[in-house]
Symmetry: C2
Subunit: 130 residues, 2 copies
DNA sequence: GATAAGGCTTCCAGTCACTGGAGGGTCAAG
DNA sequence: CTTGACCCTCCAGTGACTGGAAGCCTTATC
């Protein structure tokens, strides 16, 4: 398979696939013309990476996950720890965003949104007081 | 005030304040020795920026917000529109993160986390199937 | 055989909002 | 006069791509 094929099948942009090779996540073969030639195992890895990234794992997490995946003597505890740490970060972010949302939503609702200049949003930003 | 003072009072790192000057958000004066000299109005702006950033507004949003703040003929509708658009983005992100959290949480709970290699997390990443 | 379209290559630069560090000048206290 | 705490500028790096330039390869058509 050429890069266009794996891009389509994995759902990842060709640019991203080249980038993943650059940083050593995959190592496709090369044809005599210099084109990358992808094996099924490469496609498999890319799909794996796509799913891990979609769950928000960092690239370094993905590297570790791939290594664990290919290590048949892994302990599932190692995978679980990684996933749990990541889950905690996500939950953290959600809490932060919810706090922003709540404040912002309150401000938006308290603003008339008309032609007059009076604006509680700006007042709040200016003074930190409602 | 020197940069250390405004850093402490605004809660922003000195590096960030210099950066904000670089990109034209503030324009402190200079002493003869080259040190930045901040007026109260600069501190006020920095506090404004700190609060806007804490609500997740981008730097460009902040620039616009500052301009609106200083324009006494603004329409509050302009501020509200900006805030509402930003709120929508935040809500979007929350939905995405919640989806990640739900999937990940399910996977984490289904993984034994022991010394054996069998791991539903890796299986899911590998196949996209539970 | 020429040519055009599309796919592939590499390499460089830009994104966002800082952050770290090197290398050096300034200031106040003892 | 030295020490230590400030301050300065400039450069590079972060994460994970993404866009674009410049150029080679392949396939189809005329």
């Amino acid at each position: 398979m050429n890069i266009g094929d794996v891009a389509q099948r994995s759902g990842l942009p060709a640019k991203t696939i080249r980038y993943y090779e650059d940083i050593g996540l995959i190592t496709p073969m090369r044809d005599t013309n210099g084109y990358r030639r992808f094996r099924d195992s490469d496609l498999h890895k890319l799909a794996f990476l796509g799913r891990a990234r979609a769950l928000g794992f960092t690239i370094e997490d993905c590297r570790t996950l791939l290594a664990l995946y290919e290590d048949n003597t892994r302990a599932s505890a190692d995978v679980k720890d990684l996933a749990q740490a990541h889950l905690a970060k996500i939950e953290d972010k959600i809490v932060q965003l919810e706090s922003m949302r709540d404040t912002l939503s309150e401000l938006v609702h308290s603003c008339a949104g008309d032609n007059r200049p009076d604006c509680p949003i700006l007042s709040d930003l200016a003074t930190g007081q409602h």
